[in-house]
Symmetry: C3
């Protein structure tokens, strides 16, 4: 493991991540990636510690990824799913979190459909003076930092597997395509990618693109944003032109009922990524998607499965290594 | 670990618990509490044993507490939740239990909305001549012994953390306030607290207080009850006067639909515990609640969060230590 | 452990199982059965490996059995239940499987209500050139190989506990009674039992018996079937006459709504197994049922609980040992 000093106690947002922090995560994830290629994929780092997955919003993919990551660090895991919980008995979210604290939880991984819930729980833990760390696993339309970091790791370790570092993205052109407005994944990626020195191009129908970026990104945070490297487009083509990487976003079908979109077919025609449209990009362009994918909507089915272009499976694999790194940093600070 | 001889194979009720048993639990829980304060919170006591949580009634809090306790004893845990089970396929409860027995379960932790289910399963296990232990994690309105024991441990270890023992409660005045009639928590606490030599004062609206105590506590058990130390009140004030501890109970909102209560607001006015009402008690009075709490109903929100008075978080922490002790006693008897 | 060479990478069907494979499973299960009788029931065989239970169709019994088996081999387990999954978000089953692959799953245990899903996933894994093994835990009305193998183990280890082997069934008469047509359990058992050299007698009402056996068993597979040892009956009696073992099948109550059956009462009268009807069989006949049982429908309640006749609990216990053997074979091939 690298000997980087890590001072962040909770991981809630990428808005104020430093270059040193990004690189610490990338470097540590790379060494865990190596652990995962061994036959025995476990390390004793978090033995005896309890990682509670408090998922107030259902998720199989992200919860399983955190669960595998925690188990490979030898932690004990607890799963809380809101559906079967005492939440239905009217307890507040903070009380639920404090109950898990009192039971001896060391790290809380929290997903909630409302923005700000992990932050509120982290504040309460700090106010109580306890050592519990909170990791935001997706809060409403706000942020999904571990997804942003795993996307970053996927890209950087493609460029230099041995020494993935954020500087590798300097000057690269990255397109993010789809429902930017409602996407916590897009928001976390905008922070990490602009911090890397990449040029970030957002493409979406006008109804799915934020009008006021300062507001979208949070007034207090927007200073950190290297806004000169952020561009928005109402068409796909200018975003794709000469792009090195294309990130497509999942289209929530609920957006249609809200009349923000004409039809899935038209959306696919205009913003769906296909092999043909990729011809506008650099020749060795790669495509990412946070999953789960609506095949034939945001990306064509054949492209998704094409190992020449698609990094989608690598993202999932990177997710375990990156989450191990995050749990390692916030978990071993508690000595 | 203490070297007390433990003869009880199942833990179903506190009605016939002896002073020696109470003290064995308190003393062992205290040593596990110490284990939980270490960085590595695991002991190998139940390695290779299987603890099955058979929760026919949903519960996150109690199930998680038992799950952490089992994992910290290095047991393997299985969770069964009725919602997704073959129960919907018409299998009987006893057959479900026997299936878990046949799979090699060593300890069954059982919750059911009907009183007597854990007892029935324990009897069946004994009839079959197998070594499986049954732990009642709440059966209908009957008992919740691990809750009674963790409340006892919370109080006793507040008085003497190094040597918590039931004799410490001799002569203390303890008020139990709320829906006594329908509460399995109250029933288990009445057994342990009256056995301790404390004076127990029950306060509730007439509709939520049992009329016939022998019947309420079970005809065969009532001899054990030190009834001269049990008092009932239709008002809150006489119960609170000079009390050392106040236990509030969760108010099931279903009671309202059954016309047993006028309104939540009126209930809070009459029986809700507030800082102001606590002035009737001893100056260093402490408040307990089994959780989850309806803030502003059975207890005011500020009082619940006040570390000067509230033991609610300590109860949750005690729960893990006490459940480790119970699993230890019934689990290690099986050599 | 036996030193048998095992070449099968996935376990999807018993149609093409060889005698050597049956015996390797029986012998290995016998040694794990011995492990399970020890106080510490764990072996380190699959330490650091991940077994994912992907249950697209809910099941408590089979999922718990695989989970215990995996934990006793020291594997880490992940549970996926379709109800709370991203499946509801429109992802395909193959994409879900590939996500678990990318997270580092070593063995996928798959149940689905459609026949062929585990096969399709196994094919996809092979196409991708990855080492992941797929174990069919029940696919529609097709097969349930681990159930067939545990039934075989239950019977063979009754005859010779020290050396269970398929040859022990040569010349035995085995009746399978009930809803053959829709039963994946029956289909798997027909393959193993006819391969053993036993005489297999199927008894069911005409509406629940397949008309065309080649089609029922799969055209390509039917050559392997020793059809001369397979007999069908529309009445129970000829199947029971001199039988050594009687396997009853669970009656899905949905069959009634589909007008395939007159009434539960009439079904029980005609095809329900009772002590009285067993008088037609060999004196030491034994009864099996895959569970969960509808007491008083396919088997009388008293017979089910009679240790003289019933092997139902032994089947559940055998299930853990047999599944440990299967996970051992497909898991340790991945060196």
């Amino acid at each position: 493991m690298p000997t980087t000093t890590w001072n962040r106690h909770h991981i809630l947002s990428l808005a104020d991540f430093t270059t040193a922090e990004y690189n610490a995560v990338l470097q540590t994830a790379a060494s865990f990636q190596e652990v995962l290629s061994r036959r025995t994929k476990k390390v004793p780092t978090l033995q005896g510690q309890v990682v509670a997955n408090l998922f107030f919003e259902p998720s199989t993919r992200t919860r399983s990824s955190f669960e595998i990551a925690a188990k490979r660090l030898s932690a004990d895991t607890l799963n809380f799913a809101a559906a079967t919980s005492s939440m239905t008995k009217g307890e507040t979210i903070l009380d639920t979190a404090k109950t898990y604290l009192a039971m001896g939880t060391d790290i809380m991984v929290i997903r909630h459909k409302e923005a700000g819930v992990p932050q509120a729980i982290a504040q309460e833990m700090d106010r109580l003076g306890v050592k519990v760390s909170v990791l935001n696993a997706g809060d409403g339309q706000h942020e999904h930092p571990s997804q942003g970091l795993l996307d970053l790791f996927t890209i950087c370790s493609l460029i230099d597997p041995a020494q993935p570092r954020i500087e590798l993205l300097e000057g690269k052109k990255i397109a993010i395509v789809g429902d930017i407005l409602h996407s916590r994944v897009a928001r976390s990626n905008i922070w990490s990618l602009t911090a890397s020195g990449a040029e970030v191009h957002l493409a979406a129908p006008p109804t799915l693109l934020p009008k006021f970026f300062a507001e979208y990104l949070g007034a207090t945070d927007s200073e950190n944003l290297k806004s000169k490297r952020l561009f928005t487009h109402w068409q796909l083509e200018p975003a794709l032109e000469n792009a090195d990487f294309v990130m497509t976003l999942r289209l929530q079908k609920e957006r249609m009922t809200a009349h923000l979109l004409p039809s899935l077919r038209e959306y696919h025609q205009l913003f769906g990524i296909t092999r043909n449209k990729l011809k506008l990009c650099k020749p060795n362009v790669k495509v990412l998607h946070p999953g789960p994918v609506n095949r034939g909507v945001e990306i064509s089915s054949d492209l998704m499965d094409d190992p020449e272009f698609s990094l989608i499976q690598d993202q999932v694999t990177s997710g375990v290594a990156v989450r191990m790194a995050l749990l390692y940093f916030i978990g071993s600070g508690r000595a």
